[in-house]
Amino acid sequence: MAKDEAHGINGVTPGEAVGVVAAQSIGEPGTQMVLKAFHSAGISSVITTKGLPRIIEIVDARKKPKFPIMEIRLEKGIEKNYAKVREIWRKIEEVKVSNVITNFDEDLKSGTLILHLDKEKLSFYEITGKTVASRLSKREDLSVEQMDSETIKMKYKGKGRTAHMVRTAFVNVLGSAIVGIKGIIKATVQQAEDGTYTITTSGSNLEEVMKIDGVDKWHLYSNDIFEVMRVYGIDAARNLIAHELDEVIKEEGFTVSFRHIALVADAMTHTGNIKSIGRHGVAGQKESVFARAAYEETVKHFTNASVFGEIDHLKGVAENILIGKQIGLGTGIIRLTVKKDDLKKVKPKKED
């Protein structure tokens, strides 16, 4: 197909209001999603936000999603080797002290804490009491002593031994991590139909996962848009925004052309940073004063503009509606120009 021919099929006519069409195309199924219930029944190992709340989360450009998830792909050689995959999995899931104990005895008066480790849980995470003890002995405010393989005794040796301080230190001990990556609450190994294993996680931390050997560094997936932008760059973030929106809308059972969704993603990322749609982002950072004032916070924009002497070139749609001029859309975008020399050739018609 010739280039011009292909453009004729895929292209849009100049002056087409693509933004409005996109807004309506996404907005219409959006209204129907509100009416539906938010919860979804079913068994899923990983919890994520779905439906309209997720769309709002993406479009508002929240710094951290409510339920971040990751999909970790592995390098070609080991992606079908279960033992190797498990080895990697063990490095990923964050195991806290409270995850591997049955119970604990604390004496706030003398400042001692005795941990009773759970044998089954220890063997499940493939760690020993020794690792736990050596990890805890790095703390400066505690002296750690391993009684036997399942009991660890600790004594508080910090300054000023009040019951409150001792208790705070102990709570801190229970919540401290032994192995794994910070922020990853749960990791599960999943097998695809072709036999390859992937690791799905609740919680996301691309920077740390990339450091692990055997992980396919450049093909990880996370639903945390800002993290992806930081690690993979702005275009990966654009693709992620578009893919996540597309996926959510499809899951709800609606069909929206990918072009509309991609336009939203492009609008959010065209400055090189992720902007939210709305008053703090795309709509609130428009060049024209009138366009901003027509949207939200009218007085704020007008006072700021008058104080700083802003100039409005009246090129957008909102400004021109405001002053009653023809808008630059559709046929209105066409401007006529005449060459000066051509005018001389025109001879006025003689009236009869």
């Binding site: 992806v228 760059g233 702005i234 275009d235 990966a236 693709n239 996926e247 400055t271």
Partner: protein, 74 residues
């Protein structure tokens, strides 16, 4: 949930003459292209400096196409 295999599109740093050609083809100056920050992960990988133009080979459900981003300080 089906995660796409490729999240990161292929980036390519354009030379000055190539950038001029692209700018002429689209009929807009370089500053009017979408922006990418100098500190962006892909820019540091390519060694792109502000004032360069980066070609990005996208592959999404609409098909394969090339977009461009102008590198700015930041």
């Amino acid at each position: 949930m089906s995660a796409p295999r490729e999240l990161i599109p292929e980036h390519k740093l354009l030379s000055e003459s190539e950038a001029k050609k692209v700018s002429k083809e689209y009929g807009i100056p370089l500053e009017k292209f979408p922006k990418i920050l100098e500190s962006d992960a892909q820019c540091t990988k390519l060694g792109a400096k502000s004032g360069n133009l980066v070609a990005i080979h996208m592959d999404d459900p609409t098909g394969k196409y090339t977009t461009y981003r102008y590198v700015v300080r930041g």
